[in-house]
Symmetry: C2
Subunit: 376 residues, 2 copies
């Protein structure tokens, strides 16, 4: 938690649940990434957290944006982003959304099948397109290999078709998986991309861009490698495969830019020891899966949690949300321990919770409204 957030919480004691995010940390992350990857174009994947305060700051820093929908494109434009720095990065787009994006000046579109390529050619003629490859996302907390991407062979065929269809075959993308902690994941994929670059060049198609996606981790309970380590691996792979004539590198960090910038503050609703003979307590918070912590479900993203009683005796707990849904259980397999003194009404803090929390929140399941958001 940054001093700015601590001061805000002390001065205002905002109603819970809420997210409090220090936009300066987003800027620090952006600067660290820019320094680590000086030749890269950085496009923030705003699906992680599209708050206008974050977008405005990143626009001022010269950041671009990876947009998942025409709604996200419009949010970026409203924050002052140049159309040339936006990518329509969802392989699944309505025709009306493509046409609206093109009308707004967006020139960069992803695809991973012929039907989508034809749709882009029809509604955004002349645009630059890039094809998403399916690569291994082994080692990622969220593997992505099935829903998106095609084989190298099919990608080559589609990029050759692009010329005939009247769009510009511009590059290749992949995604090594979200919260990827293996530093060689991107490296391996770059080799796959490089082969296809060569193959297409032999056919007279010169691609100009390689998009290595996002997936760079935020630190939760486990330590994660620094961005410099990923950057060095990517740079090494690019040099190895492309030598002195490297394509434009594009990166799409989401979680990496906003994840560690915010905390979620929650109130304990109930501490229940339902069987007096069993020391296990259930701790019910006023935010759970449906309130925005969908990444904590199934024990996947492991937030560090602090309480007013830290340092005193603790014991094993299962942590759950406040709804009547049995699926609204966050940590039931992780051996979390919380202080024995924890009581209902206590406020707890979930750290590094600035990404993938706000927009996920259910609009009103069980009557509970989405968490409040504060940007400092």
């Amino acid at each position: 938690m940054t001093p700015k957030i601590a001061k805000f919480l002390q001065a205002h004691t905002p109603a819970t649940p809420c997210l409090v995010l220090d936009v300066d940390v987003v800027e620090q992350n952006f600067t660290a990434m820019r320094n680590a990857m000086p030749s890269a174009q950085i496009f923030y994947a705003l699906k992680a957290n599209p708050a206008p305060e974050i977008l405005h700051r990143l626009v001022a820093l010269g950041c671009g944006f990876d947009c998942a929908s025409i709604e996200e494109i419009n949010m970026c434009l409203a924050a002052g982003a140049e159309p040339a720095k936006l990518s329509f990065g969802n392989t699944v787009k309505k025709a009306t959304a493509i046409a609206a994006a093109r009308a707004a000046g967006i020139d960069l579109y992803v695809f991973d099948c012929l039907a989508e390529l034809e749709k882009i050619a029809l509604h955004a003629p002349g645009a630059r397109v890039f094809c998403r490859l399916a690569v291994s996302s082994e080692g990622a907390v969220y593997p992505l290999s099935r829903k998106f991407g095609v084989s190298t062979e099919v990608a080559g065929d589609l990029l050759r078709r692009a010329v005939d269809l009247g769009v510009v075959p511009w590059g290749l993308s992949f995604h090594a998986g979200s919260q990827q902690t293996r530093t060689w994941a991107h490296e391996v994929a770059i080799g796959q991309v490089a082969m296809l670059f060569d193959e297409l060049e032999a056919d007279g198609i010169k691609l100009g861009m390689i998009n290595v996606g996002g997936g760079f981790p935020t630190e939760y309970l486990d330590r994660t490698p620094a961005i410099e380590v990923f950057a060095a691996r990517i740079a090494r792979a690019l040099t190895y495969h492309f030598g002195d004539s490297q394509p434009q590198l594009l990166v799409e960090p989401g979680r990496y830019l906003s994840g560690n910038a915010g905390v979620v503050v929650s109130e304990v609703v109930l501490v229940s020891q339902r069987d007096p003979a069993d020391p296990l307590r259930w701790v019910y918070l006023d935010i759970g899966k449906f309130g925005g912590l969908i990444e904590a479900e199934s024990n996947v993203i492991r937030y560090r949690i602090t309480t007013p009683h830290d340092g005193t005796d603790d014991g094993p707990v299962i942590i759950a949300g406040p709804t009547c849904d049995s699926g609204d259980t966050l940590y039931d397999k992780l051996d979390y321990r919380l202080p024995m003194r924890l009581r209902d009404g206590d406020r707890v803090v979930l750290h590094n919770a600035g990404a993938y929390v706000t927009t996920y929140a259910a609009q009103s399941f069980n009557g509970f409204k989405p968490l409040e958001e504060y940007y400092l």
Copy 2:
């Protein structure tokens, strides 16, 4: 789809995704349940769908409500419900919510641990309380056994404590699991409850109510037993265990009342055959897990889907939502087949989708807004 819904869709072609629900069907379901269980108090579990149009209709029919939060209580009161017909049915409640409910005249509260019982006694002194038992939910699509409920032994101890704490020990509840299709599930649990009734009566505590929860199924792709079958089993168990002096029966249908009353209309965004050598197509709809179809995730609730091309040649598909999240995949293990002619822009209908769709919707993940709702 009812004629009323069909006529509405034809006349208005509403933007997708949307829910269109015929409130008359909710009334028909309520009437069927009342006829099948004439002695029961029916409390609608409004978490399934809390639309004011549904609440108003049910209030007019004399229905009560099982509320999960003070927000849901206020919605029922706003629809004209009497406080005496409301239950605060979440075992996890903030102290402030209990106090607000008590101030609004709510007299019935559930608990399943000492800490919650004490909280109720403090903030709603004199109220009637009932204890939730953990029972087997074997046979349910959504088992509920871990997050909620205590053993019969602990429940007995807690109800004995209730008297000293200044609240009225009023009954026992259980929940046999949502979309429960085994008609004997409630029957077995009633036997467990009856034993505890006897035991407490021997200690001078006369309980007055048994709450058999909800979980009664709506028909999706598989056939489900009629409500009359469940009602007969419950009646038989009550007669067997309680003879002529039966406690007040309370039922909490959610899905059963609103599930088959509505359809979700969606547009196909993309039909992707990413590998020309593989006949499997991915069909991306403009609604998925984050748009409200969270119950379809992991292939659990199997909606029947109709298209404009039904009756023509079909082929295997995986069905997914429109977001960039790999988890936004609905049916990837169910051998769904859809027409080969299906194209982007086609409108499809998901049937019996009136429950657990609207309030679940993420407020804006990927920039997509929650589905529109129309009540006829």
